[in-house]
């Protein structure tokens, strides 16, 4: 290179390096090279914008931009709060361009966080019930009073060895593992996630294959994308996935969507398969059969990574155990799943499935597939939907490949915290009833029925950011349980906003939104690992201005708190002198005997458990904690390779043993990993050596965290625990299969979400409410016409236990024979003066014996408040609360509530009003009992005297001895 240009080029490089080393942006502004139009990070401390309300005058406002993380859906996209430096108020939220997952791009719910924090109806102070539960009478109380009272009850309960009478029911996850650790420190097996009304079905299918229960497709690099799902990719959930699907499409990827309804995702698909509900596994198996019969699958991969030898030994002892014989057996296994068979089940054309199968076969290892809720969460045996979907990846070898499918734990990083808390030495029979030994998560939605059978009692019941009365099926049974003080002693509701469940609480304790609390988390969004930091932005801003903040309540509105400080404080009050052994897990390490501060908690984590962060922060002259306060996120690694192919470190290759089919065990202790992302824990060998890896050829590879160390096409767990017929991926006919329905019945699809709402928590976001506030009953013209139903007509939707009155929307965007009504809507309150006014109508509840009714009294309307926009509310139709009319349908294997309903849809009666509801809770309990008959109790099927296979994941995992079956099945 010419000397002059060489010098110029060197000067440019030096300038860039110098700029970046100061933590500043070199290519900011409206550049087409890097992310455009985001404020460069070096100007985040003083960002100037003109005040739009002052127009035409040019009045400058100065802002401090503070990163945090969205708290609406789970995916944890980065947000940037614009904190006005003069008023110290948040003006708005935009995307955080530094976030590697969301990349500065957010869905509507992120910016709407400003509505949530300025909601005129939000709960600002701790409230305590006066009068009867649910009567709606409250007094403001102090945090001290509430904490002391709750702590005293918990202390007494623990001291009396009634640990199973404390349960915390979790809605939106906050920090990965935080609540579990708090409960662990108390010795309480009381973690009760909502997962069995959410994603257990999908998770189960993945867990049996890989030992890891969430999917993480590398969409951006895929050649073919096949989704049995809609709301993730529609943007209700996981906007980072949605944007990468669009990236892939722009690169020419084909998008295949199985969705009964014409969802947003389906509208973007190259192939939209409007399958009959529950038929999805049959369609997947027909595609698998096509790949198998035509030798279009990746034989080398199957031979290398499937546990085919185990399958042959267990199921085909007649054959010599060779791969050639397995291939022959495989050809026989799915031969009945022709395109014609699948087409008949799904109600679509065989030629379309054939075309899709050909597209799938062209993907090679760039096949991205996804199923989360949708069909897996809706059907009896829905867990086989994700299992048969993954079968396609396993056949193509598209597992942990560029453009393929990653098990989520490989794209996730959960840092080891300052204190390692023990797992409890008790078993909670309400959360983990003995009838469900293979359940993916806690059977939380069955709680009212288990309590009705006197199988337990709760002394203290927390729920946090969760609304079981509204969200769960059979909400009236929840109300019956929550209002019965002999069943629930103290009900504590930790929530940022009013909800239907909070009305029945003893304490309503206000918790912060996205910009008002601390959490760390990491979610599968692309092929990489990152750690996000949620923080109270006003705390970060005021600390930057020199203030010392020791309690997030100092900066939050009213007395709104954050959970982490709350749990630490509560734990101290339970065990004030440390004699119960609880306090030690909530103490400072720097100053033993004093309370652990949030700053110390995160400083320790960022300094000790996040690889690369200390060095990276130091290069900018920051501590790791300062770095996370400044950027809100850190990317630990991009491009994870194929972890199953990784070798094993030499130091672990000692005291080895080899189990069947090359499973390798090691007598060395497992090295302490800073990443504690949850994965299954395969059993040790009979001598107690831990599962280390698997022998592939002549070398030992890390493999998968399954009993065999391989991908488990054949699950010995299912076979040995009473479900031999489902030991391999297969098709289970749904409870709403056509042969299960009466002539006049239809399927009701109730699980779909809208991109502009999030469960019930977004109902205080005025922007979102204006966009989406009602849920018509979608019905195909072929079904509407014979019933004389037109769009706008009131219709009765009759379930097994009652009915609701909705408004019809006649559309061809739904499969004939299926009705659909969305989630989110039909919010209600019984007292016009409490609760939330933008989306909750006032209703009257009536109970006559077991018969409940809900009648609308006052619609939503414009009202006067601190926010002038509430006078501009123009909508009054806020939909109907359909979940109240659904009985529980626990899948006997996954434990997932099977959401689909067999219903009758007809024109409403003359006296019916929109949103009327009627339910018989006696019938609801009968339906519960009918479904319990499908279960196979551990007492009957357990092969080893335990309640549950120890290797399966469990959020809190008691020691092995606690897994032993009780001497008699617990009753009474």
């Amino acid at each position: 290179m010419n000397k002059n240009f060489k010098e110029l080029a060197q000067r440019v490089s030096a300038l860039r390096e110098d700029t970046l080393s100061r933590g500043e942006t070199f290519y900011p502004g409206p550049s087409r090279i890097n992310l455009a139009s985001f404020p460069p990070i070096e100007r985040w401390d003083d960002w100037v914008e003109l005040d739009s309300r002052q127009w035409p005058k040019r009045v400058e406002s100065h802002y401090m931009l503070v990163p945090t993380t969205c708290f609406n859906c789970e995916s944890a996209c980065g947000l940037l709060a614009y904190v006005n430096k003069e008023t110290l108020q948040v003006k708005k939220f935009e995307g955080n361009p530094e976030h590697p997952g969301s990349r500065g791009r957010n869905c509507a719910k992120g910016p709407a966080t400003i509505n949530q924090i300025t909601d005129p109806d939000r709960i600002l102070y701790p409230l305590k019930r006066v009068g009867k539960r649910g009567e709606g009478k409250w007094v403001r109380t102090t945090w001290d009073e509430a904490l002391d009272n709750i702590a005293a009850t918990i202390r007494r309960t623990i001291e009396e060895k009634r640990q199973d009478e404390i349960i915390c029911h979790i809605g939106r996850p906050g920090e990965d593992g935080f609540t579990e650790r708090v409960l662990g420190s108390w010795g309480v097996d009381g973690h009760n996630s909502h997962t069995n009304v959410c994603s257990s079905g999908g998770r189960t299918g993945y867990q049996f294959w890989t030992g890891i229960d969430r999917p993480s497709p590398d969409y951006a690099n895929a050649k073919v994308i096949l989704n049995i799902s809609s709301h993730l990719e529609t943007g209700h959930y996981f906007n980072p996935h949605a944007q990468r699907i669009m990236d892939a499409k722009q690169n020419g990827a084909k998008l295949i969507v199985l969705d009964t309804r014409l969802s947003n995702t389906a509208t973007h698909a190259d192939y939209w398969l409007s399958t009959y509900p529950g038929s999805e596994a049959a369609v997947m198996l027909s595609i698998a059969n096509y790949l198998i019969q035509n030798d279009l699958y990746n034989k080398e991969y199957v031979q290398r990574w499937w546990n085919w030898q185990e399958y042959l030994e267990a199921e085909r002892p007649d054959l010599e155990n060779t791969f050639e014989n397995f291939e022959k057996a495989l050809k026989e296994l799915y031969v009945e799943y022709s395109f014609e068979y699948a087409a008949k089940e799904a109600g679509i054309e065989a030629s379309v499935i054939a075309e899709v199968a050909e597209v799938v076969s062209s993907a090679g290892t760039r096949l991205s597939t996804h199923n989360w809720r949708s069909a897996a969460a809706s059907n009896l045996g829905g867990w086989q939907v994700s299992r048969t979907l993954f079968l396609l990846n396993a056949l193509m070898g598209a597992v942990a490949t560029e453009g393929g499918f990653y098990p989520n734990a490989w794209n996730k990083f959960v840092p080891r915290p300052i204190h390692a808390t023990p797992h409890p030495h008790v078993w909670n029979n309400i959360s983990w009833p003995i009838e469900f030994p293979l359940a993916q998560n806690e059977l939380s939605f069955l709680m009212p029925h288990l309590m009705k059978e006197n199988r337990g009692h709760l002394e203290v019941y927390f729920n946090r950011v969760y609304n079981p009365v509204w969200t769960n099926p059979d909400g009236f049974s929840w109300i019956e349980m929550l209002t019965d003080e002999t069943k629930v002693g103290t009900y504590v509701c930790l929530t940022p906003t009013w909800n239907e469940s909070a009305f029945f609480a003893d304490y309503v304790l206000p918790m912060g939104h996205a910009s008002e609390r601390h959490d760390t988390f990491s979610y599968e969004q692309y092929n990489g690992q990152w750690l996000g930091f949620r923080q109270p932005v006003l705390r970060a801003a005021r600390e930057k201005l020199g203030e010392k903040i020791t309690d997030t309540r100092q900066v939050n509105p009213g007395e709104v708190w954050e959970e982490n400080e709350f749990w630490i404080d509560l734990s101290w009050r339970i065990d004030p002198d440390g004699s119960m052994g609880i306090r030690q897990y909530h103490e400072s390490k720097k100053n033993p005997g004093t309370k652990l501060s949030i700053d110390e908690y995160y400083s320790w984590m960022f300094e000790n458990s996040v690889p690369g962060l200390p060095e990276h922060a130091a290069s900018q002259g920051l501590t790791p904690f300062e770095y996370m306060r400044k950027y809100g996120v850190f990317q630990i690694q991009a491009g994870m390779g194929q972890p199953n192919e990784n070798g094993v470190h030499e130091s672990e290759l000692k005291d080895l043993s080899e189990g069947p089919f090359g499973r390798i065990y090691s007598g060395t202790p497992a090295p302490l990993s800073p990443n504690i992302a949850p994965v299954a824990t395969p059993d040790p060998d009979p001598q107690g050596r831990r599962a280390l890896g698997v022998k592939i050829g002549d070398s030992i590879k890390r493999g998968f965290p399954t009993p065999s160390g391989r991908l488990e096409f054949y699950s010995s767990t299912l076979a040995n625990w009473g479900w031999k017929e489902y030991a391999i991926p297969t098709y289970i006919k749904s409870h709403v299969h056509k042969q299960e329905l009466e002539q006049d019945q239809m399927v009701l699809l109730s699980t779909f979400r809208l991109p502009t709402q999030i469960h019930t928590r977004s109902a205080n976001s005025k922007w979102l409410d204006e966009i989406s506030h009602t849920n018509p009953v979608m019905i195909h013209p072929q079904d509407a016409n014979p019933r004389g139903i037109s769009s706008g007509d009131l219709v009765r939707v009759e379930t097994e236990i009652g009915y609701y009155v909705g408004k019809a929307l006649v559309t061809e965007g739904i499969h004939p024979g299926v009705a659909a009504c969305s989630h989110h809507f039909g919010r209600w309150k019984t007292n016009q003066d409490e609760g939330q006014n933008q989306m909750m109508r006032t209703v009257g509840l009536d109970k006559q014996g077991d018969a409940w009714s809900l009648k609308p009294l006052h619609d939503v309307h414009a009202y006067n408040s601190s926010d002038p926009d509430t006078l501009r509310i123009w909508w009054n139709d806020v939909g109907v609360h359909q979940n109240l009319t659904f009985p529980v349908h626990p899948d006997p294997i996954s434990g997932m509530h099977c959401w689909h309903q067999a219903v009758r849809v007809r024109k409403a009666d003359p006296g019916d009003k929109f949103s009327d509801i009627y339910v018989d809770t006696k019938k609801a309990h009968e339906v519960y009992q009918k479904w319990m008959e499908k279960t196979r109790s551990a007492t009957k099927v357990s092969p080893d005297g335990n309640r549950r296979p120890y290797w399966l994941q469990r959020p809190l995992k008691p020691p092995r001895e606690i897994y032993a079956l009780p001497k008699a099945e617990p009753v009474g």
């Binding site: 490089s13 030096a14 860039r16 070199f26 409206p30 087409r32 090279i33 020419g252």
Partner: protein, 294 residues
């Protein structure tokens, strides 16, 4: 840091500097030794009114944004398994892409992949940068205020340095396949349109050139888009205007001949196009002089 890595960063910076003026440009301009920073009006005048920094304008037969040339460039992005950005043929983007491919090439350990990256970079350099930017930069350096004139000189010089890596005995495909000027006598309207298409005429004629023509020819200047201005000039005195254009073509021939040593077949292509334009214009002018319009 390797010299090559430095040179890729230089291209990225040069790309950033043809974005609207921004405080972050000040230190970049300073290390490049650019004179007084431009105003927003300078930027607008140069890049929005006179010389649009989009490859499709110079490499497409229509001489307009997008079209087949735009599609080809977007296709190049896709071939690299990259999502084409909204303006995939903008000079900033192309220089940024060039630098990014170069960075990947340098970081690559697998020799086969490294070679593929190098080949991709060479294709980008030859097909979509050297094929038009030197001529474009030459024009900018003659027309723009000192800041951008110097920027253009550095850009042109740096690209000619990069060109030394390539075999330029054959022209880029995008030029080799390009249609020429329509016949002036058989399709006079298309011929006039073609004069404003650099790929067909071998000339970059911007608004400032047409204003100059009005002044030189002492005819009235009608302000509008370029085609309108040019047509107005031709309508007033066809023969004189054609002679003026032929003279412009001659200037472009000389400009390109000066580049033959560095750009080989590329400069030859442009010089040939300008030569053919000059011949057509001269012939057309002769016809016009023989049958003057009333």
């Amino acid at each position: 840091m390797s010299i090559q890595k430095d040179s890729f960063e230089l291209f990225r910076v040069l790309g950033a500097l043809c974005e609207p003026p921004h405080p972050s440009h000040v230190p970049m301009a300073s290390v490049l030794g650019l004179p007084k920073e431009p105003s927003e009006a300078d930027f607008t005048e140069l890049f929005l009114f006179q010389l649009y920094p989009y490859a499709s304008i110079y490499l497409g037969p229509e001489g307009m944004l997008g079209g087949e040339a735009g599609d080809k460039i977007a296709g190049f992005w896709r071939a690299l398994n990259l999502t084409p950005p909204t303006e995939s043929d903008h000079l900033t983007v192309l220089l940024g892409l060039y630098a990014s491919i170069g960075d990947l090439e340098l970081a690559e350990k697998d020799e086969a992949v490294k070679l593929m990256r190098r080949q991709a970079r060479h294709v980008l350099l030859k097909e979509y940068l050297l094929s038009w930017v030197p001529a474009y930069a030459q024009k900018v350096s003659e027309l723009a205020p000192p800041y951008y004139a110097e920027w253009a000189r550095i850009l042109k010089g740096a690209l000619l340095e990069e060109a030394k890596e390539l075999d330029l005995s054959q022209p880029p495909d995008i030029l080799a396949q390009a249609p020429g000027l329509p016949s002036a006598t058989e399709q006079p309207k298309a011929f006039v349109d073609g004069l404003l298409s650099p790929l067909r005429s071998g000339m970059i004629i911007c608004r400032a050139d047409l204003y100059r023509a009005g002044k030189d020819l002492e005819v009235g200047l009608r302000i509008g888009e370029r085609r309108f201005i040019l047509q107005a000039l031709l309508n007033q005195d066809l023969a004189l205007a054609l002679r003026w254009l032929a003279n412009e073509a001659d200037t472009w021939i000389k400009r390109q001949q000066d580049l033959v040593e560095d750009l080989g077949s590329i400069a030859t292509f442009w010089a040939n196009r300008a030569t053919l334009a000059k011949e057509s214009l001269t012939k057309y002018a002769e016809i016009a002089e023989q049958s003057p319009i009333d």
